[in-house]
Amino acid sequence: MSQDPELLRRLLRAKDCMDAASHEEWPVQRLARVSHVSAAHFARSFKQAFGLPPHRYLLTRRIERAKTLLRDTDLPITDIVFQTGWSSMGTFGRVFRDITGESPGELRKREQAASHALDRVPACFLNAAHRPDLTIAVSEKRRQQTDSRIASDEAKHTEEEP
């Protein structure tokens, strides 16, 4: 179902506001004012335009931002909770787990381990890219050396044996 581009442009302004300040409270009335429409019309048209209701969109942005702060900073989780717009640690923890399937602490631990690896991506990538050839070459070389050592040992033994 098509929507009026002029209305969509105004809905985008409200979406931009949530993107720019997802830690702030964005009740539908406030968003509707940005878009110059009634609250009921706003909620309905926003969902139609962007595929999810405005409050759920805001939630996705807050969780996304919390995940980023958990991964990229060492801020205490309580600070992240309030910086990303939650009023209680309990609500945050429950919603976070519902959405991501793990606790903020678990995600931080996993992501920080992963992001540490991510820092080394270029080296890892290079290593990985070079490994097959190198491995084959090294193992082949080693095998040849071993073979030749065994051969020369055998030869030595053969020479020494008489």
Binding site: P5, R9, L12, D16, A20, A49, F50
Partner: protein, 134 residues
């Protein structure tokens, strides 16, 4: 020998409005503005980048069918078109100047990744990133 991309086009909702924005507010200048009936080939260029033209086109029949034109207008208005990047020497100075001219910023200058960036939209909804040259 110097070769490269010559023209990249954007869809805009209104070409007069787009000219006003890109020329009066961003400081581009008109390169070509040719009309043929309802159709208008309109390109602008950055004063410091004469080899590149930015096309400001409207989704319209007969170039695209009427239903597609409507879809494209909706996509542009929803901010769904691909990102655009404007590089400046000083992001905060450019931001102040552009904001004074009425450019709609969706993100104020933020320092990160060793640079400073801000975001703005053209009147149609096309999203631009304003990035400070490193």
């Amino acid at each position: 020998m110097s070769q490269g991309v010559g023209v990249v086009g954007l869809y805009v909702r209104d070409q007069d409005e787009a000219v006003q924005f890109y020329v009066d507010k961003l400081g581009f200048r008109i390169h070509t503005d040719v009309r043929n009936g309802d159709y208008r080939w309109l390109t602008v260029q950055h004063p410091e980048q004469p080899s590149f033209q930015l096309g400001l086109f409207t989704p319209q029949a007969p170039l695209v069918d009427a239903a597609t034109a409507q879809t494209l207008r909706e996509m542009v208005a929803k901010g769904a078109m691909p990102p655009l990047v404007l590089v400046v020497d000083d992001c905060r100075a450019a931001w102040e100047q552009m904001r004074a001219r009425g450019v709609e910023f969706s993100q104020e200058p933020v320092a990160r990744y060793g640079s400073v960036d801000a975001s703005f939209r053209d009147p149609s909804g096309n999203g631009w990133k304003l990035i400070q040259n490193r």
